[in-house]
């Protein structure tokens, strides 16, 4: 149904700062861009009932999730005048302090990227079937729920 190919948004493990830096560098040949906005989700070492989160193990209903990421992409381009956008989400184990979500929106004008990045991130949180198992330092766990 989608007119462009659905991409695989998932990456195994944490998203490295090198990967993000390289992604920024690749946009320097696009000289119509005036503003980039980048959102990064980082795993927090939350303390719950005296136990500290050591990592989140992400799983997903991958086929549906990639379709949803694609739909978010299409809707975002329809709504906002972006030059380009990229989404990467981790699967598997991401330790506290590591990055699990990388959203990158670029446009000629700044006001658009502020609106676009918030729209994309909220849509990901609401629509994409990704599940997070918060693993405590004592190896017990609980399931994360987005608010």
């Amino acid at each position: 149904m989608a007119d462009k190919k659905t991409k695989n948004v998932f990456k195994k493990g944490a998203i490295s700062s090198d990967f993000i830096g390289t992604s920024i560098a690749k946009h320097q040949s696009k000289t119509t861009i005036g503003a980039h906005n980048i959102f990064l989700g980082q795993v927090r070492a939350d303390v719950i009932d005296n136990k500290t989160v050591a990592a989140i193990e992400y799983t997903a209903y991958e086929d549906m999730a990639n379709e949803k990421f694609h739909a978010i992409r299409e809707a975002t381009f329809k709504k906002f005048d972006l030059t380009c956008m990229h989404i990467y989400h981790s699967l598997g184990t991401v330790k506290a302090g590591e990055i699990c979500l990388f959203v990158f929106a670029s446009s000629p004008k700044r006001k658009i990227v502020f609106k676009a990045i918030e729209y994309i991130v909220e849509a990901i949180k609401a629509d994409v079937p990704v599940f997070g198992k918060e693993i405590f330092e004592d190896e017990t766990h609980q399931w994360k729920v987005n608010k």
Partner: protein, 77 residues
């Protein structure tokens, strides 16, 4: 008919499997879930949504697809 059912996160912990094929004669989602609750009683108080062929469906949707998925609350990002 037979349908592929997928379980995720907390739901997969309860079912102790990630997917299975289930034979059934019921027609809509809530009737199908009643069948599942017989097999996995502790699913009953859990919070989840149902997707049919990768789209969320309501409890009274007819089951027509080849794949159902039970999705606990999302935690992406």
């Amino acid at each position: 008919m037979t349908i592929n059912v997928k379980y995720f996160g907390l739901i997969a912990e309860i079912t102790t499997c990630e997917k299975e094929r289930i034979l059934f004669t019921k027609k809509n989602v809530s009737e199908f879930l009643e069948l599942l609750y017989l097999k996995y009683p502790s699913l009953k108080n859990k919070d989840f949504q149902v997707a049919q062929n990768q789209e969320l469906v309501s409890q009274d949707a007819l089951i027509s697809g080849h794949e159902l998925a039970l999705l606990p609350p999302f935690a992406g990002g």
